[in-house]
Symmetry: C2
Subunit: 206 residues, 2 copies
């Protein structure tokens, strides 16, 4: 046998599939595209992974995990709200600078097939609503203590996630409006980390 352990082909295929599915979405992705991207042929694709659906499931689940990962840990960790907000923004923007197609891919496929969301919620140990509850408790505490102004925690969480994630979804629009290229976009997004954090903390002042 050639390489039983370091089967680099499987890795190459998965990476290629990740790229193609994530950029094009399930319907527009072609097995031929994936094969070419992996530097192999279609036959070998099916030799490793039986079908397009099976491959897509692997990739999609991985992407969902990447997209939602980290957020839970941050929310459930010890620490004051301000630090958590900083951490969420930093975490999201860092992930999305490395994987700009992540949100549009995951959210597009979730919109096509919302049951998947519930599937994923069931599979995940903690139900997503647990996170909101934990977050809400902390927000309400800080409101009661007079540390921040009164605000609906759900709306605050939506604000945080929106400002971190949306610009990556609207990237072509933003590039056009700012008259810049991919590099310029990245620069703006890096600066954005601090800008958004400041914006939120300012909005929470009593």
């Amino acid at each position: 046998m050639k390489e039983k352990l370091d089967n680099e082909t499987e890795k190459a295929i998965l990476e290629a599939a990740g790229k193609v599915f994530t950029c094009k979405g399930f319907a527009a992705a072609r097995m031929e595209d994936i094969a070419k991207e992996a530097g192999i042929n279609r036959a070998l694709l099916h030799y490793y992974f039986r079908s397009k659906d099976k491959m897509f499931d692997l990739i999609f689940n991985k992407r969902v995990h990447e997209f939602f990962s980290g957020l839970g840990e941050i929310v459930l960790s010890e620490g004051i709200l301000e630090e958590k907000i900083r951490a969420i923004i930093e975490h999201e923007i860092t992930i999305l600078l490395a994987h700009p197609y992540l949100p549009i891919f995951v959210l597009q496929e979730l919109n096509q097939n919302p049951e998947r969301m519930l599937d994923h919620a069931r599979k995940a140990g903690a139900h997503p609503s647990i996170l909101l509850k934990k977050f809400s408790i902390q927000v309400k505490e800080e409101i009661k203590k007079g540390k921040i102004r009164a605000i609906d925690p759900s709306q605050l969480l939506m604000n945080i996630m929106s400002m971190a994630i949306y610009p990556f979804i609207a990237k072509p629009v933003i590039k056009t409006i700012l008259e810049t290229d991919d590099v310029g976009f990245e620069v703006v997004m890096k600066r954005r980390e601090k800008e958004v954090t400041d914006f939120i903390l300012q909005a929470l002042k009593v």
Copy 2:
């Protein structure tokens, strides 16, 4: 001739095409789906509109227009910044409550085919960057006058648009986290109009 003027069939087709393309995207949309949705057959579809691509172009351009419409008028209008921010949020949330699939459809297709953005920018009378410039001038004026704190106008505009639009893209996620249904989602979004406006104005205080 049966109905030369009130050709309701053409309308039905366009409406059906709008629905199917907007919900599924170009690649996943089937001509058969559109025909069924319009209550006719595939042959008649091609009798009215030659090809899938031609139909898609019609729908896509209409959707892009709907998605971006209004924003320009608001930004270019007379009036103080605060009122414009209120107007933008109200306008976006109102449009998206009526057309929840608008942003994910337009942005997904623009990400697939970013040149379209430039095409559209060229076709539109005012280049989108004009809007940002006008907006920037007004923001800088209000900063100088001490009405709002110092902030990068691009980042502020991104914040406004993000908070208004993103929740509609992340609808399945939000429904799961909030443990609610479509009706509950709409209620939250209606409340959101005021919440987001307050949030932004608070964040802009000196």
